[in-house]
């Protein structure tokens, strides 16, 4: 009897053990499932660290100024007209107090003609802008440099004076020669 009870106890204990271990296994499985759900939502947090790269073409800046010695004077509040590559008027505006004007390029249009009309009547300048040429410094006239161009002007004028003086001295020599004869 005692043995039976012991066996029953043992069986009971074994059954309890099985039950417990079964429960534990189920609990373990449950934990795994819960954890997997948790991981699913974790992906949302992880994707927030992804780096996004986008690009946009920045505005084109136009700067108009009166050139001269002693620095440039910005061409303030001047009318600006921008034409696209087909000659249609694309955008108009005014330069700001620094002589600058910004506009966004039209998609697909690479060449623009920019006309600036200074607020002093009778003065305008235009420049052609070609985006596909890379960074273009449209002030190609400045390539030689202002001091050199001043010297060039003086050179021409000195040349004119020199030719005149040469002519004069030749005449004087001729007259002297004729005088001697």
């Amino acid at each position: 009897m005692g043995e039976m009870r012991e066996r029953e106890k043992g069986r009971g204990a074994r059954e309890k053990k099985k039950k417990r271990s079964g429960e534990r296994r189920e609990m373990g499985r449950g934990c795994v499932i819960v954890f997997m759900f948790f991981l699913l939502f974790c992906f949302g947090i992880a994707s927030a660290h992804r780096i996004y790269v986008v690009h946009r073409i920045a505005d084109i800046e136009v700067y108009a100024y009166f050139g001269g010695v002693g620095g440039e004077t910005p061409c303030r509040y001047a009318d600006v007209e921008v034409y696209d590559d087909r000659g249609n008027l694309y955008v108009t505006g005014k330069t700001d107090e620094n002589g600058k004007f910004r506009f966004s390029p039209e998609t697909g249009v690479k060449t623009y003609k920019i006309v600036v009309k200074a607020n002093l009547p009778g003065h305008q300048a235009e420049t052609l802008l070609n985006l596909s040429g890379g960074y273009s410094d449209s002030s190609a006239e400045g390539a030689i440099g202002l001091p050199m161009r001043i010297l060039a002007g003086f050179g021409y004028l000195t040349g004119i004076a020199g030719i005149a003086m040469l002519y004069k001295s030749r005449k004087a020599t001729k007259a002297a020669r004729h005088g001697d004869n």
């Binding site: 009166f66 050139g67 004077t73 303030r76 009778g122 161009r149 002007g153």
Partner: protein, 219 residues
């Protein structure tokens, strides 16, 4: 600024400018050949052209824009009738080397700046002829200074006339305010150049009077 750029004026005004310039240049060569040889005048002409040529680089900000020295009064008083070809050469150099003023408008620009130079010369010469006293040099300086200022004002006026003529021909109202704007913008320059012209004339009269056309017994 009285240098008109390309593409602003109507073709009739541009052509008229060229014809007038050519005529006045030919006249000035003929007139001066009656009194002196051109070869003798050339060094002085080159010097004044150089001064005129760099004058446009000196800017004076006026309101939202700026004006530059013209010096056509000084050139007129020093060179006499040859000031007109001198200004023409100066404008050619400015247009090609500095992109200052258009190339097609060199003719009309010469007319706009050269005629006031001749006017300044005329006024000063008449006044100088009337005054024989050396003591009246201060009066000559004042009159020359005034003519220098008048030369600038006339240049602004003629420039606005050219613009308004373009408006009338084209039938557009673009430059109707041109005269007022140009004259107002150049008002400080009138004063500045009057002072410069007067000072230069006084200085040259004392140091080397024969440099001045008004002091020479020639045109």
């Amino acid at each position: 600024m009285v240098h008109i750029s390309d593409g602003v004026l109507s073709p009739e005004v541009v052509v008229a400018g060229w014809i007038l310039s050519a005529g006045i240049i030919a006249f000035s060569f003929w007139w001066s050949s009656r009194y002196t040889e051109l070869a003798d005048e050339m060094p002085r002409l080159s010097l004044m052209t150089a001064a005129f040529f760099v004058a446009s680089l000196i800017h004076i900000p006026v309101g939202p824009s700026s004006v530059h020295l013209i010096l056509n009064g000084v050139v007129g008083i020093v060179l006499g009738v040859l000031s007109f070809p001198s200004i023409f050469i100066g404008l050619v150099l400015q247009a090609f080397l500095f992109q200052h003023g258009g190339i097609s408008t060199i003719g009309i620009n010469t007319v706009n700046m050269g005629i006031p130079a001749l006017v300044a010369y005329g006024i000063s010469k008449i006044v100088k002829g009337r005054l024989h006293n050396a003591e009246k040099e201060s009066l000559i300086a004042v009159i020359s200074g005034l003519s220098g200022g008048i030369a600038v004002a006339l240049a602004a006026l003629l420039t606005s006339v050219s613009l308004i003529m373009t408006d009338l021909i084209k039938g557009s109202p673009t430059y109707h305010d041109a005269a007022i704007i140009l004259l107002a913008a150049h008002a400080p320059l009138v004063v500045i150049e009057a002072i410069i012209t007067g000072s230069v004339v006084v200085f040259l009269l004392q140091v080397k009077p024969e440099l001045l056309a008004i002091a020479r017994a020639t045109a």
